[in-house]
Symmetry: C2
Subunit: 469 residues, 2 copies
């Protein structure tokens, strides 16, 4: 029982009330899952991996030279860890270069602003552009605006992002980033600038992908830091005719070949059945991609390595997929689903880690409702690691989000993301934002999940796909 | 007694243990000091002033066009507040333009770094410079280095700044910033780069003034953010021959005329005697100068305004001095001491607010030791505002720090600066970092201090000047 006690102490350290409130009965057959937790919590492997990726590669924007260096890094790292199989699969990814982003209020008084181009934005005209500002509280407010009030102006979507443990706040405000340029252009705006989709008060702008639409003019799109958005708002209260100047020089450079990088622990008795744990290898270009998604790369890689090192491999194959080009539109995830179309029926369950390195407090699944209780029973050793057993409405993470519609069961290991959107998509996404202890708890959770699922005797299909999820 | 009770509640809200542990007996004659506290805590004037300065002026580097705008702003603001006198005194200030600052590790792998030029630095040669890195734990380590290990390299002073409520941590590490270029050049370095003198983990570099020496070559000097310093250190552990590339384009543009801006509440019976409360009007150029030193400007201005508005003015004149060009070498403070040489004997006491907007927890003085107890008794109403009565070793703040040697008593109203060096001298020095309640507590403290000192019947001179202080 010694290891159980240690595990319980660790669970309490991570402070999961849910775990404490539940009566925990761990079947004896799950000893190995509990051992995996101990191994993971006692290892620095996860942290070592994200340290290596952020120091030896750093920023790795899809299609850039650093993306290729990241793929090489991943192939070497996975090979050096001794996985049964390591390979890569080509993915065509768009190349977008950030260039420079400068902005200032030029009237009534000059005030330099900290901005960044949104991913995919076109450049401003040669010499930049100057225009008055049409401010809106939200994308919805812009959508219902009279075009007369927007035409010829820079639309400013000034919505604050709420802080939550989940992505709820992000979900509420991110539409301004992804759709703002289209809606603003339809109203006649010459550019769109948003308050950063971020919960911090740092003078850093949050980038992230935006989209254009075929029938709508492509206008430049940028985000300003929260303090700068406060400043612009304060200026507009003094002078509604305040003028903003924007210079953006991003470039669209076509397509390049990148790769989904894959490693496997071959299953001992059902090697053709797959438990997929993924993360994305690419990152935005301004930080070193530590929490997004170096952490995920480290978590799933270290988790699989701990399974690789077991004396007895689980029945099914555990497949680590490090996806290409997630940030610019789930490109690697979609490519994987297409390339593995004929094998998806053999995917037992899939999960992606892509929400930083905060501790996992809950696991949700999307399995056949009839076996949900059985699945919860099977994964109950995760309670000792502070992971509560949640609902059956999971979507599984961005790069596996298309799999449920293709019949594949998924799980979402919910991380505490209360500070994730402080750093997300900014220059501040660096190694120091990762707590090694919390990262190890994540590794433990993924190791337990993957191991238990790779051995489970439960038929998870068919699943119900709810269009809301 | 009503106002006393309210004051006590407020004091407890600010949580000063020192105040609670001291038996507080407020002489009845100090009713007005207690009323001033209530007025200040119930007013938004201080916050309104710093909001106005940061929005309507923003960054105001000494000698720049924005510095002139700041002087105009100050003259108008002080005039609009109805002070008895408002005037300005010319000060010759150096003009230094930041230009651009770029850096990256180019070998063994390219990694962009966030850096900023130190104030006063020369530019790198046309096209930048590339060199290996000689890393040192501290300025002292660089001082004792063998020149062979530094010659031709970029000296990297990698000392972390400790977090304290006072400036103690800053004091320990700032020598690397101010003296690093001289010491590095003496060892043959081609440039010096320091880990930012800052307690944060943000991807922001902290600027601040540095000095050259006549007999030593002027080499470029920059600071990198803490996460970048971590990265460089991690890179050097992998490859001691890692190469750094630096591009700095600052310019030295001679001198310009700026101004110390001054307002006065004329004393009712001893108008020629001065209680000076100061702050500096200039700021670094990357933030909006909110905590450094918009807060100080707001605190002393609002404090004096509350005294101006009293039905009965205190005996001595309360003089607000908004100093020019503090950041680039206490230029306004030195100019004031020189211009007012013949009036210094009439300066009863002086204090400067230049440590952000954290609540004041203690007041120290530098008065004649024989009257220290009397002075503490006089200022005891400040206890109700959470301000403990401290020691008699104050230096008074940067721009008045030369006054004790000239015989002028000073006071230091100690602010909680535990997070001051998270933002100090970075783009993050913006309005949102100021807590309006803490700012109002500062205003109350300065109003009480200035009022009580302007009425006090204590001879504060002569003072002992300790070379350590």
């Amino acid at each position: 029982m010694k290891s159980y006690q240690t595990a319980l102490v660790t669970s309490l350290l991570f402070g999961s009330l849910s775990a404490c409130q539940t009566k925990i009965e761990i079947p004896a057959k799950n000893d190995i899952a509990v051992q995996l937790q101990q191994t993971a919590l006692g290892s620095t492997l996860g942290y070592d991996i994200v340290e290596s990726l952020t120091v030896e590669v750093g920023p790795r924007l899809a299609g850039s030279p650093k993306d290729a260096i990241a793929v090489d890094w991943a192939m070497k790292k996975l090979t050096s860890l001794g996985f049964d199989k390591v390979y890569k699969e080509p993915v065509q990814v768009p190349i977008w270069e950030r260039g420079e982003a400068k902005a200032k209020i030029v009237s009534p008084v000059e005030q330099p602003l900290v901005i960044t181009a949104l991913g995919g934005s076109v450049a401003t005209p040669e010499g930049g552009l100057k225009a008055q500002i049409a401010r809106f509280d939200s994308l919805a407010a812009l959508q219902s605006a009279n075009p007369v009030d927007v035409k010829g102006k820079i639309a400013f979507i000034d919505q604050k992002t709420e802080r939550h443990i989940t992505g709820e706040g992000y979900g509420k405000s991110v539409g301004g980033r992804s759709k703002g340029a289209v809606v603003a252009a339809q109203k006649g705006a010459v550019a769109v600038v948003i308050r950063s989709i971020g919960t911090d008060h740092d003078r850093m702008a949050h980038t992230g992908v935006m989209r254009y639409q075929e029938d709508t003019p492509k206008i430049p799109a940028a985000a300003m830091s929260n303090p700068d958005a406060d400043l612009v708002y304060a200026m507009l209260k003094r002078d509604p005719n305040a003028v903003l100047e924007l210079h953006l020089t991003p470039k669209d450079l076509g397509f390049n070949t990148s790769y989904n990088v894959i490693a496997e622990v071959t299953g001992s008795s059902k090697p053709n059945e797959i438990v997929l744990i993924g993360a994305h290898l690419d990152s935005w270009d301004e930080g070193t991609g530590a929490i997004d998604d170096g952490a995920g790369v480290a978590i799933v890689t270290a988790a699989a390595k701990h399974i690789q090192d077991l004396p007895q491999k689980p029945a099914r194959t555990v497949r680590v997929v490090l996806y290409a080009a997630e940030e610019v539109g789930l490109v690697g995830g979609k490519a994987y689903a297409k390339a593995h179309k004929d094998e998806l029926a053999l995917h037992y369950i899939a999960a992606e880690s892509d929400f930083g390195a905060g501790p996992i407090y809950q696991i949700d699944t999307r399995v056949n409702d009839a076996v949900f209780t059985q699945v919860k029973d099977a994964i109950s050793p995760m309670l000792l690691n502070g992971v509560a057993l949640g609902n059956n409405l999971a979507s599984g993470g961005p790069d596996v989000s298309m799999l449920p519609a293709l019949g594949v069961p998924v799980a979402s290991l919910r991380q505490d993301g209360h500070d994730y959107f402080d750093y997300h998509h900014t220059p501040n996404d660096t190694l120091d934002k990762i707590d090694p202890k919390a990262l190890a708890q994540n590794v433990a959770a993924y190791a337990q999940f993957a191991y238990i699922m790779a051995n489970a005797n439960v038929t998870l299909r068919p699943i119900v796909v709810d269009s809301k999820h």
